[in-house]
Amino acid sequence: MQLTLFPHLKLSNDELIASFSENSNWQESPIRYLCWHSHADKFAIALKDDTIRIHYNDNELVPMLKHKLQRNVTMMSWKPLSASTLAVGTQTAVLVWNIDPTSLSTRPSSGAVQVLSHAGHSPVTSIGWNPRGLDLLFTTSTLSSAIVVWNVSMKQSQVIQHVTACGGISRLLFSPDGNKVITTTPSSSFRVFETATWTNERWSKLAGRVQSSCWNPSGTLLLFALYRDPRIYSLTFSDSSSFDQPVLDGPKHASVILDLTPDDEREHESSNVISPSNIIHSICVDPTGERLAVMFGRDDPRCHLVAVYALASDPVVSVTPSGFIHGPVEAIPTFITFKPNVKKGALLTICYSNGHVGYIPMYFKAANQLNRSKILTPLKSFSMKDIDQNQSMWSKSQNNSLLVS
């Protein structure tokens, strides 16, 4: 009965991870995941051979992380407010690496890793640190309805929620302000929790499961795309900073902000046709909240492109096409992410099926720059040095690339 309702339960571990991964070709692609550090100029890259490498902007040293339990990496996340802690979701457990940025060793020892394993909670398909920098790691599994929170230093786990009758939790994503979190499921529903008391609102009766989702920086706008649905939907929430505690007041219905149906299909389409193949695989918003990148599914004719849109959420949500990004010849994008902490504009990072990583800098004047200057007003008396440390990394060329061997 349950197998009929939730077909993903019949899949093997590899297929299960691949079908819910942010990587469009998780099984074949040389690069499985890429994760930028939120403040330092470094990123961790998980490869098909189950190793993870750390690349620094100002250091030639590339530490390689390898562990016998580090198999089938599903996701990685740097701990906010820490320079050295990286959590890795794998097929069996969560591994928390502590990589000393000043160390000259290229192979951190097994003493630098903590293994966190909770019974009946594998494969760990999604992980997320507390965005406020507390020592709490949240994990979910597509085969478990539990949201588990780990006190990492104490190695203590606590089940804080059960999202029942959904066949598991495919992804957990905190809003950047840390006040809300979305949990998507393999069924046609998802929930948004507020993080003070963990009450939630549920959206159901969707046309399919949520394929990809992302928040804007203030946590007031949630964008999501459904499996085999060419549209991107939005939900708008109030700004929690004006309340005594985070609140959930999302609208009952999500609104469509972007329709990516190809023109030839649009001609003979009725209003509610679901495509036989997945169209949108991944969407992400840059840290300023002004650019939206869309990666297409593997079977879509536009799979070799990444579409970029200008996004505005104030006063109303609007999306304006900015252009398409073409990758190397005969390579298709498999993973996209924006680099956090970019001073001017945004930096999109694209991993390609041939093992290349491309950096796409986007220079624009962010609307919230005005707000930034306001923020710094009370400290006028201090000497302010606006050093753009990141500039050197990608100002040399418009499309630097790194080949992962």
């Binding site: 550090h37 403040h39 330092a40 906010p80 407010l81 820490s82 320079a83 050295s84 802690t85 940025p101 000043t102 406020r132 920098g133 507390l134 020592d135 709490l136 539990a146 929170v149 006190n151 990492v152 230093s153 104490m154 190695k155 606590q158 089940v159 804080i160 929620q161 059960h162 006040n179 003070a196 008391t197 963990w198 900073s241 004006s242 309340f243 005594d244 505690q245 985070p246 923020i375 009370p378 400290l379 008396s381 201090f382 000497s383 302010m384 040095k385 050093i387």
Partner: protein
């Protein structure tokens, strides 16, 4: 008169009452679940029919009602025995005495009584061999009924489970309130933890059962014979628990295990709900225009003089609002209300409290580390005592000005030597220790050519100095009165008594059996430093969140005035925590290990707190006056190298 704090008298009492009501209701559900399992034996093919018959019987409802009332008693015991502080007794004698205090015995017996009562009520749901104390017997020709050993064992096991579980809870510090990192509603919490609670109850019960059966097999007949004689029942031939009776033992063990698990589950569930209720956030008022409300304000309740549970709740709320409530933060950064002592700034009070807690932890850790190094050095030096003492005496007797390094001097055992051997001289070098003394106290003239030369006058012993003082007094103080002489002789006598007492204590301690009991266990001593870890954690979080938020929310610049203090306190704590984490202290007790692990958690918290501040203020921190060492650490935090 010792009046109860308003929070405990009002809020916590209501929370306990609410917990009692909810556990009373919940017990009916748990009992229904238990009954279903109780009827489960494989030979019972009418289990559903029996279950529903039982469910609609008045007798079952009455018995369930009684069990629910007993669970309310658990709440009462929990309320009397809970603690907030995680500190542990650090000597073996204290650990033993803890369990034989009258209060402890009374609570142990209360738990045992409740366990026995629940066993009695369970045995009466369905007539089984555990129901009646007497049973029909064919083996005895002269009497129809004999003593029912099964019933005795069943009730005795209830007694044992009740008492042992309470002792285990006390030993493992499970009656200490646990403030979860994520607050949950009561039923959600029960739902999420029910499986774990059941598994834990079942495993603990299985362990107790194994020991119970073994002990009963060896000495159980004593109790059985005593009770049978007391009640005037003849005993059946043979024993229930014996090697020749293994087939009968399995269903008995199953029944005992089920009933024991049920008792433990009710205990654990009650404690879990009690913990959920008591650790919920209490919204303390931030400000009030009425003077009678001052004791209820958040800033008042953060104080060290308040009961520990109140301090915990106040710091918990402070941490919560510093993270989630911009409006409350705004109130903290605003000017305070008028009071007798002038304007009160909430930020000042909060910063004082948080920094003082952080400094307390830093000081405790420093003292502990000094103690460790001192003990280690003393041990090393005692192993080389003969050679070292001969060397030093030789160097002293030579009369030449010897040049000694600070480390050499520090390795000399000081107080212990002086106590044991008052005539033996020792160096007065505490002022030369650069790492612990402020630079002003350092005898700079003693620094010669990069090494430290101890000037001759410093080498006088305390004893010698005292004698010298006495001589000078006798020479120059010619007008000494009789009273002063009496007083002096009394003081001398008192001092000698003290010395005698100390010597006696030393010699008693020297006896290995006594020292085994009274010596402080190093793991527990190290763990006790982190007994208040929750308050330390909340202090670190609160001060860092408030400081980071102040960059946009503090209109008056209160926070910036104390930024150096905040950073200094956090950086000092981080450095001592880093040192402490390198010390290898291990323990076999899970409770002690859990406390020891807190140091890693607090270290991670402190690092995040410093990052929180440095990420907010960034290069503006260059303008803040801090020491060179702190500047170096701050720079590495700014450059994301920590």
């Amino acid at each position: 008169m010792n009046t109860e704090h308003w929070l405990m008298a009002q809020e916590l009492r209501w929370r306990s009452a609410a917990c009692a009501v909810w556990i009373w209701l919940l017990t009916f559900l748990v009992t229904a679940g238990f009954l279903f399992t109780w009827l489960l034996p494989p030979y019972n093919i009418f289990i559903l029919y029996d279950f529903f018959v039982l469910l609609f019987a008045f007798r079952s409802w009455f018995l369930a009602f009684c069990i629910a009332c007993l669970c309310v008693l658990y709440v009462k015991i929990n309320k009397d025995t809970y603690s907030v502080n995680n500190g542990m007794k650090s000597t073996r004698i204290d650990m033993l005495l803890k369990h034989v205090r009258p209060k402890s015995i009374a609570y142990t017996l209360s738990h045992a009584f409740v366990g026995t009562c629940i066993a009695f009520l369970i045995s009466n749901f369905v007539p089984t061999r555990f129901t009646h104390i007497s049973t029909l017997c064919n083996s005895l020709p002269e009497s129809n009924s004999c003593f029912n050993e099964s019933c005795f064992i069943f009730h005795l096991f209830g007694f044992v489970v009740g008492s042992v579980s309470f002792i285990l809870r006390e030993e493992n510090r499970e009656s200490t309130l646990f403030f979860p990192p994520v607050q949950q509603g009561r039923f959600l919490s029960v739902k999420c933890h029910l499986t774990n609670l059941m598994l834990k109850s079942a495993s603990v019960c299985a362990k107790i059962l194994a020991y119970f059966l073994l002990v009963y097999y060896l000495v159980g007949f004593l109790g059985r014979n005593f009770l049978a004689t007391l009640l005037g029942f003849p005993l059946c031939a043979g024993h229930i628990i014996s090697l020749w009776n293994l087939f009968d033992l399995v269903p008995l063990a199953w029944s005992l295990w089920l009933s024991g698990t049920f008792v433990l589950l009710l205990q654990n569930l009650t404690w879990h709900l009690f913990n959920v209720y008591l650790t919920q956030i209490f919204p303390f008022p931030m400000d009030s225009v009425f003077p009678e409300d001052v004791p209820k304000l958040l800033t008042t309740n953060l104080n060290n003089s308040q009961p520990t549970v109140v301090q915990h709740m106040a710091f918990q709320y402070l941490s919560y609002i510093s993270q989630f409530s911009a409006s409350k933060r705004k109130q903290i950064f605003m000017l305070g209300s008028e009071s007798g002592s002038g304007k009160l700034f909430k930020w000042e009070v909060i910063a004082d409290e948080c920094i003082s807690r952080i400094s307390t932890l830093t000081k405790k850790l420093k003292d502990y580390q000094q103690g460790i190094s001192f003990t280690g050095d003393a041990k090393r030096s005692s192993s080389k005592s003969s050679s070292t003492s001969s060397q030093s005496s030789a160097s002293l007797n030579s009369g030449s000005q010897s040049v000694l390094s600070v480390s050499m001097l520090r390795r000399r055992p000081l107080a212990s030597d002086s106590n044991r051997n008052p005539n033996m001289s020792y160096f007065e070098v505490s002022s030369l220790d650069t790492s612990y003394a402020p630079p002003s106290q350092l005898n700079t003239s003693a620094l010669l050519n990069g090494s430290l030369a101890v000037p001759t006058p410093k080498l006088w012993t305390k004893q010698a100095r005292k004698n010298q003082a006495n001589v000078s007094t006798s020479v120059y103080g010619s007008s000494t009165t009789q009273d002063q002489d009496d007083e002096a002789s009394y003081e001398t006598f008192k001092g000698q008594l003290k010395k005698l007492g100390a010597r006696l204590l030393q010699s008693v301690r020297g006896i290995s059996v006594v020292s085994y009991f009274i010596t402080e266990l190093p793991d527990r001593k190290a763990g006790n430093i982190f007994a208040d870890h929750q308050i330390y954690r909340w202090s670190i979080q609160s001060i860092s969140f408030l400081t980071a938020a102040s960059i946009t929310e503090d209109d008056y610049g209160f926070v910036q005035r104390r930024l150096h203090e905040v950073l200094g306190a956090l950086l000092d704590l981080l450095s001592v925590l880093e040192k402490n984490c390198k010390l290898s202290v291990t323990s076999s007790s899970p409770a002690v290990l859990s406390l020891l692990r807190q140091q890693h958690s607090l270290k991670a918290e402190t690092k995040s707190a410093i990052h929180r501040i440095t990420n907010s203020f960034a290069r503006h921190l260059d303008s803040i006056a801090v020491s060179a060492e702190h500047r170096r650490r701050l720079t590495s935090f700014l450059e994301q190298r920590e």
